[in-house]
């Protein structure tokens, strides 16, 4: 007998005491929890996002669509970035004002090559205000998962208010589970030394978020 059949057989044998239950799953679990916490206007929700991002040491900037190229150019210059990694579908005008060399995200690049690039600029799929979280789903303006991981400086543009939701349940409702997903809440951190949080381990140590809109 295969281990598969053995395990499934043991599971069934283990459950012989359990009464039959044909309740459809939607009714089997009582979901008495909230879909979001508190009542807020859209503007309040964006403010909460900014507050929670900053609480976990992301650096938050605000601008409108017209001010985006200026701001991106300034942030890259302030970081001393000479080359910036760019996902294939990033709107070209975002980096129109920046002097940094733009390097396209390509499948054939090795991690070692990515490691020599200072910064990466991406969009996101959705942002969660209650937890201060950015969700990336590999869309055209976000690129492969590794490009927001290996460079030490990540600038993420969130279009507000349309990309912002209040809560985790609302975010899951907007995301396609079959895409490769990365949820980012602040720069890389660890609590492994005396259970105290320290920012800056393997992921980008500097996370800047631009709320644009």
């Amino acid at each position: 007998m295969s281990s598969r059949d053995l395990i499934l057989g043991r599971v069934r044998a283990a459950l012989t005491d359990v009464p039959a239950d044909d309740l459809p799953y939607e009714r089997a679990v009582q979901r008495g929890y909230r879909q979001e916490h508190g009542e807020r206007t859209l503007a309040d929700t964006v403010d909460l996002l900014a507050e929670n991002l900053a609480d976990y040491r992301a650096i938050v900037h605000r601008t409108d669509e017209a001010g985006l190229p200026e701001l991106l150019a300034r942030l890259l210059a302030e970081h001393g970035t000479r080359s910036v990694l760019v996902p294939r579908g990033l709107p070209p005008h975002w980096l129109a004002a920046s002097a940094a060399e733009q390097i396209q995200d390509r499948a054939e690049d090795t991690p070692r090559e990515l490691d020599r690039i200072a910064s990466v600029v991406t969009g996101c799929a959705v942002a969660v205000a209650e937890t201060g979280t950015l969700v990336l789903d590999g869309g055209p303006d976000q690129g492969r998962r590794r490009i927001t991981l290996v460079p030490d400086h990540h600038i993420c543009v969130v279009r507000v208010p349309e990309q912002v939701v209040s809560s985790v349940p609302q975010a899951l409702g907007r995301i396609d589970p079959t895409r490769p997903l990365t949820w980012i809440s602040g720069p890389s951190a660890t609590s492994d030394i005396e259970l105290d949080r320290v920012e800056g381990v393997h992921g980008p140590r500097r996370l800047e978020v631009i709320l644009a809109g």
Binding site: S2, S3, R4, L6, I7, R10, V11, R12, A13, A14, L15, D21, Y25, A28, V29, R31, G32, Y33, R34, N52, Y56, A107, T110, P111, E113, D115, R116, I117, E130, T131, G132, T133, G138, R145, L149, P169, L172, P177, T178, P180, L181, T182, W183, I184, S185, G186, S188, A189, T190, S191, D192, I193, E194, L195, R197, V198, G200, V201, H202, P204
Partner: protein, 522 residues
Amino acid sequence: MSDEKAPPPTHADAPPPALAEAPTPAPMPGDAPAFVGMPSFPRAARDAVRDTTLRANLRHATHTIRDKRAVAVAELDDWAALREAGRQIKDHTLRHLDRYLEQLEASVTAAGGTVHWAIDAEEANRIVADLVKATGETEVVKVKSMATQEIGLNEALADEGIHAYETDLAELIVQLGKDRPSHILVPAIHRNRDEIRDIFAREMSAWGRPAPEDLTDAPAALAEAARLHLREKFLRAKVGVSGANFMVAETGTLVVLESEGNGRMCLTLPETLISVVGIEKIVPTWRDLEVFLQTLPRSSTAERMNPYTSMWTGITDEDGPRSFHLVLIDNGRTDTLADEVGRQALRCIRCSACLNICPVYERAGGHAYGSVYPGPIGAILSPQLRGTGSEIDASLPYASSLCGACYDVCPVAIDIPEVLVHLRERVVEGGPVTRGGTKTVIRPARGHAAERAAMRAARWASTHPGVLRAGQRLASRTRRLHPRTLPGPGKAWTATRDLPPMPPEPFRDWWQRTNGGKDGLR
């Protein structure tokens, strides 16, 4: 990018030291096999509580996280409803586990993954070793994973000539320090910053890039040293090994929550990804994540959300590993599932809130539990996964004062005290259990014969009033002759307690003599 010049060769570019000459790697103490022969919990704990550094480290860490967790939980006014939903989702999944396992297998396979099944640790280790060997690689990078610790994967791979590099900071501290994990979330919780600095300075050079010469004990400096040390390993890794926090049956999605980015490195940079996951880690639907993504981070690191969560469904063209293997392990889980009271332990999402709140864990530390699963959850999980045959496993249900704090903080409402009492009964009385898929009846554990004899005698005496009365009078009249500690098998009981003083007369005699106390004052 190709025009940029190659980085200078570093120490870490050199191939890893061969097993025969390596001063430090493998066999490491501290994984499943090395726990065999552990002394019983009371003996191990007796040594641990005398270690004042350990106690100070644990007290500092557990109190820090305890207070933060309370704040993070208080932010959600629907915590009780989230906890209840989490309990129900897990219970529902367990009661239909066969169905959800089949569904998961189908959806992972449809998404381009390959599913393997392992009945025990040995089979799981063999599957992983064969998968690694098939790639031609001799090293793997690992995301922190309880399941791979439980099965002793690193040692099994070392036996096959494969180096497994732990990349979580705390796991790295444990691996470099040739130590054993002592906490589910922070395996090096028993180490303070000075000790970590010393371990890094002493050991890193044998494994790759040495620690910086001027390494201080500042947590940021230690994190930086780990970043530099592991960077080369991540960038060259061809095989990643992980566990998973959740597997979604409906979609075939696996979920890993982490903080440092080492998880993302291992999950996205290598060409091959092997995930080793216990069969109980399933949730039925995508939507179910909305409960656990709220309760797990707040319960474990006391954050609204952990810095990084990765979710992947099979393989994706040109993003991440080109081949994905899921190894589903039983290793005692179906035996645990067969126990009507004990099966609730399988709800556990490994948050470690019960460790952080536990007064016994805080004083005894994780090593005394003799398992990769320490603390209250370990005290009910290890004896069920492994059976109560060994001295350590038979003693674990007693590693608790039954204060109930663990139950209060558990985000899936595991009634740990209830299971502890159930397992104590099993140890003392014996009874029906399932081991290796077979229902059997175990005998009472050794060492509890005196207790059982005393209980039987007490039962007989209390159902024979004449005997009880005679015995009580005899005891009262001879009270000056009683020793302060019991001899023989009773010695263990009085080793940590004083014998209660015997009253000059039995209660019933006093009642009769004083007319129920009414004449007592005269």
